[in-house]
């Protein structure tokens, strides 16, 4: 067991896979000489050379599509898109091609592609660089979307994504890169499509993913001091979505709050709430609450940005209200 940063865990996963499989190569803007905008690929160009760690021009559609084509011939490209905002430039290749090729051709061609890209706001990056649009990809059958919250999951899910024969989008998070956690030395690839109960509790279920799964644990600890015993479900995989784990928890706690960094209307939380309505209707003692980003283009000014981002305080307040709605504080 080693304590490692989220950034280092991702780096280690990439390096191990480059060592393990000759067909693995990295592609993306500034991943080689510049060593990555967020330094995930630091040192890999020097170790593996320009053939396997390939700097690309600023051409998301072109290089993402090229990675899809290379994957069709059996390579296992890992594409870095600098932030998820820029993935929109590659939307046609991801949605119309990567996600479709296996099914559209009757299973004849596989696309063992990984797209790594960070979401997240809170760095005063403004409207075009602070979005969380993972929903666009989680919406599409044929894609797999994972969203690790911890260093151990970052590594285990990255290993799984690279070894998977389908296109997998790995949602990283700017605010998580410097967080640390224990990573087992002999970590096995995770199973994509499984959520995790990261804290057991009896009073309320908190459903979250990526950064908000970390916030959820902090808030749960804070609320424990107030006598609220919260259970936290970290989705880990947005597609497929592990509905059973969510439902099992809500059937136990009888109420739920979803924390999400994306926009509320039509967001991931809407799908979670609908799932709970389907699977735990007769167990619900209160409506499902959602804590999400304010529905505005993200402003630059710090005061406005803080007002727009869901905070631990926002989450705690919503959870308190939900618990208060079903019972006096225990």
């Amino acid at each position: 067991m080693t304590v490692t940063s989220y950034r280092q865990a991702l780096h280690d996963a990439l390096r191990e896979e480059l060592l393990r499989d000759e067909d693995v190569l990295l592609m993306g803007e500034e991943i080689g000489r510049f060593e990555g905008s967020y330094k995930i690929t630091a040192g890999l160009l020097a170790e593996f050379g320009a053939k396997r760690v390939r700097d690309t021009p600023i051409a998301e559609e072109g290089f993402t599509g090229a990675a899809v084509g290379a994957a069709m011939l059996g390579l296992r490209p890992v594409v870095e898109i600098m932030t998820i905002n820029f993935s929109l430039l590659a939307l046609d290749q991801i949605v119309n091609h990567a996600a479709k090729i296996y099914g559209m051709f009757g299973g004849q061609a596989r696309v063992p592609l990984v797209i790594r890209t960070p979401g997240g706001g809170g760095q005063q990056l403004g409207a075009t660089h602070s979005q969380n649009v993972e929903l666009y990809y989680a919406f599409v059958p044929g894609l797999k979307v994972v969203a690790p919250a911890t260093p151990a999951d970052a590594k285990a899910l990255m290993l799984a994504a690279i070894r998977d024969d389908d296109p997998v989008l790995v949602l990283e998070n700017l605010a998580l890169y410097n967080t640390s956690g224990e990573v087992p030395d002999d970590l096995e690839p995770a199973e994509i499509g499984r959520a995790a109960v990261t804290r057991t509790g009896s009073d309320v279920t908190i459903v979250a993913y990526s950064r908000m799964a970390v916030v959820a644990l902090e808030v749960a600890e804070r609320l424990a001091a107030e006598g609220i015993d919260a259970e936290v479900v970290d989705l880990r995989s947005l597609r497929p979505l592990d509905r059973d784990t969510i439902i099992a928890s809500v059937r136990k706690t009888n109420c739920a709050v979803v924390l999400e960094d994306d926009w509320l209307t039509y967001g991931i939380g809407a799908e979670i709430a609908a799932t709970i309505g389907d699977g735990a209707f007769d167990w619900l003692d209160a409506p499902v609450r959602r804590v999400a980003m304010a529905e505005v283009p993200m402003p630059y000014a710090k005061s406005l940005e803080l007002a727009a981002l869901p905070s631990a305080d926002d989450a705690a307040a919503a959870i308190r209200e939900t618990v208060d709605a079903v019972a006096r504080r225990r």
């Binding site: 190569l25 051409a59 072109g62 290089f63 090229a66 090729i101 296996y102 797999k144 979505l241 009888n254």
Partner: protein, 372 residues
């Protein structure tokens, strides 16, 4: 995972296409002619099947493009890869895929090349290294570029041919792909089939540089323009382009071709004047090629009749096969979402409940567990 897409088994040779190495012999010229006629008959039969509602969706035909199809495909080696757009039946035929399986795909049947999942726009056959027809304009260019990258990565000497229409040269993916291929020196030939019309918009209206092959200059890429109605000229130009690509210099080839009918089977093409229609007919590549061969006595009336009879028979056989092929079983609906099975994959038909309603009798235990 097995490298399914890089299998080294050689595709069987296209049955009627000659090898590309030397100047064509009389036999090869006859074979060219017979292939062009066959493509023509196949496409005409597809148009009829569409009107009979045996074929659905969109259906774009290679009518008028047969010389380009035949010349290009004859220049390829068996191990080379082909990516096309959605106007691709002829290329699939010329690549040697059984016409029965192509027609079955147009019919949406389980014996189709894509098992009924693709339809007219999405033919695919790994054995023939026919890497797909693609329905999104420009979508195939980055993919083909990536296939060339994979060849280069592994040090192979295969090449990739990527077809597109004239309209595609205005889309971003065209420029991004040519740039990538040029900086990475990839073994790929981009082929523009310029039939003068992107749906109803002319090249002159749509492209600031209507001599489309010249766009390669922006990437310092070699390029050429060739008469797409002359299969021999196309074959020779393609051979030059492929040799360049294999040597690490990607190539942009423009074949100036024609479109005898509308953009698709449902397009009456009223935007064309009678003069333009007649000009297209006059430039019919099959009639022109036959005339040239007849003139030099390299083709006989009997051979023409035989070619047409054989084409009709082969097409009839393809239709019969397609008609007899079963419709895909609805039970297979979820068979091709993911190559690697994954837990919690949603396999629900429309209207199916996510969770079963609670059976009244079986709730008591869980209720107590949940509420105690």
């Amino acid at each position: 995972m097995p490298r399914t897409t890089t299998s080294r088994t050689r595709p069987r040779s296209a049955p009627t296409a000659p090898a590309a190495d030397d100047a064509p012999s009389a036999a090869q010229e006859l074979a060219f002619y017979r292939q062009m006629v066959f493509i023509r008959r196949f496409e005409e039969r597809a148009a009829r099947a569409y009107t009979e509602a045996r074929i659905g969706g969109y259906c774009h035909l290679n009518l008028g493009e047969e010389a380009t199809v035949t010349g290009l495909m004859s220049a390829l080696r068996a191990e080379d890869y082909v990516f096309t757009n959605y106007r691709e039946h002829g290329y699939a035929l010329a690549r040697g895929i059984a016409p029965e399986r192509i027609m079955a795909e147009l019919y949406g049947r389980s014996d189709g090349v894509s098992k009924g999942w693709g339809g007219s726009m999405h033919l695919f056959d790994l054995e023939a290294r026919f890497m797909g027809g693609y329905g999104i304009v420009g979508g195939q260019l980055p993919l083909a570029t990536g296939a060339a990258l994979a060849i280069d990565y592994r040090g192979g000497d295969e090449a990739v041919v990527c077809l597109m229409g004239d309209g595609t040269t205005n889309i971003g993916a065209f420029h991004e792909s040519l740039n990538l291929a040029a900086i990475w020196k990839l073994p790929i030939v981009y082929v523009i089939v310029n039939n003068g019309l992107g749906m109803g918009t002319t090249v002159e209206e749509a492209s600031a540089e209507p001599e489309l092959h010249r766009r390669a200059a922006a990437y310092r890429m070699a390029s050429a323009r060739v008469d797409g109605n002359d299969p021999i000229a196309v074959r020779e130009a393609a051979a030059t382009a492929l040799a360049s690509a294999r040597a690490g210099a990607p190539f942009l080839l423009e074949a100036v071709s024609g479109r005898l009918k509308g953009h698709s089977v449902v397009d009456p093409a009223r935007y064309r004047s009678r003069e333009e229609v007649e000009a297209a007919r006059a430039a019919d590549p099959i009639a022109g090629y036959a005339a040239r061969l007849l003139e030099s006595a390299r083709l006989s009336e009997q051979q023409i009749a035989d070619a047409e009879r054989d084409a009709d028979r082969a097409v009839a056989a393809a239709v019969a096969f397609a008609e007899a092929s079963p419709h895909p079983d609805p039970e297979t609906l979820f068979d091709y979402t993911y190559a690697t099975p994954v837990p919690n994959d949603s396999r629900r038909r429309p209207g199916e409940a996510l969770f079963l309603a609670m059976p009244a009798a079986s709730t008591a235990a869980s209720v107590n567990g949940a509420t105690a």
